[in-house]
C-alpha cells in the first residue's frame, strides 16, 4: 500500500501542471491545427476538411519571400543581440567585483522593460524621423543636406527596434552562464601562461555556450512571431510572418491564418531543435 502510494505520488504532483499544459497549450494548438483544415466562406469559417490553406502557402511566392524576410530579421537581430549582450554580460560577470553593484547594474539592463513595448517603439520616432533628433543634429552641423530617410520606416529601424526590445533576453542567460564559471579555471589558465584571448576562446566561450543557446532560443522564437515592431518601425512597408497572420485574422480568414500559424510553429521548432543539437543546454539546468 505504502509502496504503491510512493510510485503514484510524483504523478499526482505533476498532475496540476499537466492539466494546465493540456488545457492552455496543447488544446489551443490542436484547435489551431483543426481550424487550419477548415474552409472559409468569405465572412466566417466552416468546419470541413480542405488542404487548400496549405497549398496556398506552399505554392505562392509571397509566403516564401515573407519567410525569407523574417529569417533575415532573425539572423540580424540574433547577431546584434549577441554582439551587444556578450560584452555586457562579460563586463558584469568579470569586471564588477562588488556584488551589490553587480545586481544594480544588472537591474539597469531591465530598464527598457519598465514601459510597454509600444511606447518604447514610438519613442524611437522622434529620434529617427526626418525632422528627428539625429537628422536635425546632422543637418545643423552641415554634415548632410537632405535628411537620411532610411533611419526610420526601414529594415534598419525594424532591426534596431527588435534589438532594443529583446537584447535583455540574451544578456540574462549569458550572464547566468558566466557567473557559474569556476574562477579557479581562469586562474589556472593564467598560471599556465594563457593569454586573455586564449582564456576567452578555450574556457569562457565553451562554458558560456549553453547561455548563448538559451538566449538564441528566446531571440529566434520572439522574432519569428513578431509583428508589432515590424509594423511600427517598418512603417507598415515591411513584411513578416506574424504581420501576415495578423492581416489575415483582421479580415476574419481564420483557417488561412491558422495554417500559417502551424507552418510558423513547425519552422520555429526546427530552428530551436537545430540550436539544441549544437549545444547541450542541460548542462545549464
Amino acid at each position: 500500500m505504502y509502496k504503491s502510494w510512493k510510485t503514484v505520488q510524483p504523478y499526482i504532483l505533476a498532475l496540476p501542471q499537466t492539466l494546465v499544459f493540456l488545457l492552455f497549450l496543447i488544446f489551443p494548438i490542436l484547435m489551431i491545427l483543426l481550424v487550419s483544415f477548415w474552409e472559409f466562406n468569405g465572412y466566417t469559417m466552416v468546419p470541413g476538411f480542405t488542404l487548400s490553406n496549405y497549398t496556398d502557402i506552399f505554392t505562392s511566392d509571397v509566403y516564401l519571400r515573407t519567410y525569407l524576410n523574417t529569417f533575415k530579421y532573425v539572423i540580424l537581430v540574433w547577431f546584434f543581440c549577441l554582439a551587444i549582450a556578450f560584452p555586457v554580460a562579460y563586463f558584469l560577470a568579470f569586471h564588477i567585483q562588488n556584488q551589490k553593484l553587480q545586481i544594480i547594474l544588472f537591474l539597469i539592463c531591465t530598464v527598457p522593460f519598465w514601459t510597454s513595448n509600444i511606447i518604447r517603439m514610438i519613442s524611437w520616432i522622434p529620434v529617427l524621423g526626418k525632422e528627428g533628433l539625429i537628422n536635425s543634429t546632422l543637418m545643423s552641423l552641415n554634415l548632410i543636406q537632405q535628411p537620411i530617410e532610411w533611419l526610420l520606416y526601414s529594415d534598419f529601424a525594424v532591426v534596431l527596434g527588435m534589438v532594443h526590445l529583446f537584447n535583455f533576453f540574451m544578456i540574462a542567460p549569458i550572464f547566468n552562464s558566466l557567473m557559474r564559471i569556476d574562477r579557479n579555471l581562469i586562474t589556472a589558465a593564467e598560471d599556465m601562461g594563457a593569454s586573455g584571448w586564449q582564456i576567452l576562446r578555450e574556457i569562457i566561450l565553451p562554458l558560456a555556450a549553453p547561455g548563448i543557446a538559451i538566449g538564441s532560443i528566446f531571440i529566434v522564437t520572439l522574432v519569428m512571431g513578431e509583428f508589432v515592431t515590424v509594423r511600427l518601425m517598418g512603417g507598415g512597408q515591411s513584411a513578416s510572418v506574424g504581420k501576415l497572420i495578423q492581416t489575415q485574422i483582421g479580415s476574419l480568414q481564420y483557417p488561412l491564418a491558422a495554417a500559417n500559424a502551424v507552418v510558423l510553429l513547425i519552422v520555429t521548432l526546427i530552428l530551436v531543435s537545430g540550436i539544441l543539437r549544437v549545444v547541450d543546454i542541460r548542462k545549464e539546468l
Binding site: 481550424v35 465572412y43 466566417t44 524576410n69 525632422e131 507598415g236 501576415l244 489575415q248 485574422i249 483582421g250
Partner: protein, 442 residues
Amino acid sequence: MAKLSRRQLIRTGLAAGAAVAVTRCANNTNQAQAPSGTPNNPATGPEVNTNQVKDVTLRMIGTGVSQINEIRDKAQEDLGFKIDVRALSTEENNQIAITQPGQYDLFDGEYFSLPLVVPSGNLQAIDVSRIKEFDKIVPIFTQNKFDGARVEQAQGTYPYRVMYLREQGSKEFATEPTNWATLIPFQYNADTLGYRPDLIGSTKIESWAQLFDPQFRGKTSILDIPSIGIMDAAMVVEAAGLMKFGDKGNMTKQEIDQITDILKEQKRNGQFRAFWKTFDESVNLMASGEVVLQSMWSPAVTAVKARGIDCIYAPLKEGYRAWGGGVGLSKNLSGIQLDAAYEYLNWMLEGWMGAFLGRQGYYSAIPENARKYMTPAEWDFWYEGKPAAEDMVDPFGKTLEKKGAVRDGGSFKERMGNVVVWNSTMDEQVHLVKKWNEFIAS
C-alpha cells in the same frame, strides 16, 4: 479560430442565463406580448416601468459612439438604464460581432461590415415602425436619394444597399425599403486626402492622382486596412488614368491583380513613406512631417491642427470616399431589454448625440434634430460651410478652428453630395486580402 476561453465561456453562460431570466420575468408580467398602452396591455403605473428599466444593462461593442464616455453618461442619465461600452478597432469589432454573439446587445459598426456580419445571423432586424423619426433620416441611407447629387450613383457598399432585410429573420438584404432595417445610422462622413500646405510647396492638391505624383516621392502614405486602403488606391489609380474599373466597390479578380501590381510598382519606386493602420499613426505621420500627403480621416486632420500644425482636408475633383456608422440589435435581445434598446435607438436620433458628434465634424442621421442642440454659429460652420462666426470648440473644450475659418470642402450638401465611393466589402474579399498581403510583402 474558435476563441473560447474559460472566461468567455462563463461570461456567455451568465449572459445567456440572465437573458433567459429577464425574458421569463418579462413574460410573466404580460409586457412583452403587446406594446405598452394598447388594449391588450394597458400601460402600468409609471413606477413599475422605471423600476424595471433601471435593472436593464445593455452591453455595446463598437468603433464609433462607443468610444466616447460622455455620450454613454448622457444616455444613461436620459434613459435610466445602464449601458456598458467596449471600444474596439474595426477588425476586432467585426470579429466579436461574428464569432461571439453572446458578448453584446448593441452593435455599433460600419455599414461596410454588414455583408460579413449579417450572414452570421447574429443581428436581429430592427422594426422600422418602432423608430419614431425614421422618416426624417437623411435619404442617403433610407432611399439612396440626395437631391440628385452624384452620391446617388456612388459605388461600394453604400448604406442603402445593406440598409434593409427582406423580412424579419432574413439574412438577405432587400433591394427595396422594407420594415426591417439592419442598422440605424448615427454618424458618417466624407473622407479624402489630407496634406501639409507648409511642406507641399506651391502645388495645389486637387486630384486623388497626386498621391502618385513623383514630386512627393517618399512623402505619401495610405491605409493598411485592405477594405479601406483599396478604395483610396482605386480612387488614385482611376484619377491618374492608370486603369478603369467596372465597379470600384466590387472589383473582379483581374482588377484586384492589376491594381496591386500598380501599387507594388509605386512601392518599389519609393513613392510611399509608410502605411498606417490606426488613427494615431496617421496623425503622427502628418504632424511629424514624415508624410506631406496621405489618405486621412476627418478627425485626424483636426487632431493635427489641434497641435498648431496647418493641415488641409482637400476637396478633390473626383469626389469623396465615404463611410457610415450605425447601431444594430443583437439577436439575444428580447422583452424589456429589447424595449430598452429601441429607446436607445430613438434617443440616438433625438439630436443631443448628433450635435455632440457634429462639433467634431461628423454628420448626424437627422441634421435638423442635431441643429436644435447646436448654436447657430456651430451649425453654420459645420453644416452650411460658412465662415466661423466664433471660435469652434469641440465637446472636450479644445478649440478646433479659429473665428473666420471655413470648413474644407464646404457645406454638408457639397461634401456628402460629392461622395463617389463608400468603404466596401467585396465578393472577392479573400483574394483581395491575399493580394494586399503580397503588396505589403513586396
